[in-house]
């Protein structure tokens, strides 16, 4: 294995933050040199985060793919400006992706700052979501899609992508306290939507996982 990829694929491990910085710097330099292995490694590492975030914020899988491609084109062009001391590579890439999503939402005329008003009724959320009775997954997706955009983004980063709170807050460019507020409001709205409408989905799920804690 080539040195750059050993750093890329290995966890920071004993090096801690220093090791992480060295690994991110090596990967960024590899991309800057045009090293195809480094390009593939960065793509593999960041693409799930980018597509997940874009699909969650835009609620349109085709547009999310467009944003993913635009994001990486910007990454290739700007990789020399990346500073590993300031942010993890994923954080930097995700911020580029999220800003592109926000641009698209603005062009659609969608508000970005209203964090408490659901953007859609759960039953209208997403053209691909139909609420067939008993289709729990679609109901949950619809309930998430109905949340305000920043709550969706916060949930995507913390729950689905499992970023740490500091990293997620950095992607959203907010404080950790503001992140916790977004998450709590989002989860509270979801709980209400899934408990009250069409029967109590949460109770049903609990009954189906009786032995799990």
């Amino acid at each position: 294995m080539r040195p750059v990829l050993r750093l890329v694929s290995g966890s920071p491990g004993k090096g801690g933050e220093d090791g992480r910085i060295a690994a991110d710097r090596a990967l960024a330099h590899g991309v800057e040199r045009g090293d195809r292995d480094a390009v593939a490694a960065l793509t593999a590492r960041c693409l799930p985060l980018v597509t997940g975030l874009a699909a969650r914020t835009l609620r349109d899988p085709i547009e999310a793919e467009d944003v993913a491609q635009d994001t990486f084109i910007k990454v290739w062009r700007r990789i020399a400006q990346y500073h590993p001391e300031r942010a993890r590579l994923e954080t930097w890439v995700a911020r580029i992706a999220l800003n592109l999503c926000y641009d698209r939402l603005r062009k659609r005329g969608e508000a970005l700052m209203g964090d408490d008003t659901p953007e859609l009724a759960a039953s209208d959320a997403g053209a691909d979501v139909s609420l067939a009775a008993g289709d729990d997954a679609r109901r949950v997706r619809a309930a998430v899609a109905a949340l305000p955009v920043r709550q969706r983004a916060a949930l995507e980063l913390c729950h689905f992508q499992e970023l740490g709170n500091i990293q997620a807050a950095a992607v959203l460019e907010i404080s950790v306290e503001a992140l916790e507020s977004l998450l709590a409001r989002g989860r509270r709205a979801l709980k209400a939507a899934l408990s009250d409408e069409h029967g109590d989905l949460l109770a049903g799920l609990t009954a189906g996982h009786g032995g799990e804690t």
Binding site: V31, E32, R33, G34, V39, A40, T43, A44, L47, P48, V50, T51, A55, P61, E65, A68, Q69, F72, I73, W76, R77, R78, A80, Q81, H83, R86, W92, R95, I96, D136, A137, V140, R141, A143, V144, E156, C158, H159, F160, E162, G164, N165, I166, L179, E180, S181, L183, A184, R187, L190, K191, L194, L201, L202, A203, L205, T206, H209, E212, T213
Partner: protein
Amino acid sequence: MMMLERFAALCAAYGGNLERWPQAEREAARAFAQTTPEARDLLTQAQMLDRALDQARPAPASDDLARRIAASAPASVSARRSTRSAAPRPAWAAMAAALALTVGLGAGWFGGAPAETGDMDLYADAFGALDESAALELLEDA
């Protein structure tokens, strides 16, 4: 020491899996949950929502998309940048830059009133807000 109020706030934000909680508070929360029935109830409630949310996982990116993205990377960013910097500049560019510098310095020297307070802070704030990507965007858009 973890208190129930903080435990409830963390549970409301991060859910019922302690691995998703802030690293700095995780161990204290784990110990608190072992000794506090109310905390365990909160975790159980949050785990119900976690399981529901797990059904809304995003679809994985396609292999085709990953291939297209990897193929969109230039052979060498450094090479492209050095090519761009080696491009011939018009002869008048240096003269125009010198003229702009002279006019700017002159205007600043003779026309600028001394700032009373806080100018350096203003400059620091303005340029501090420009991260590397934003700065590059401005350059690219220019």
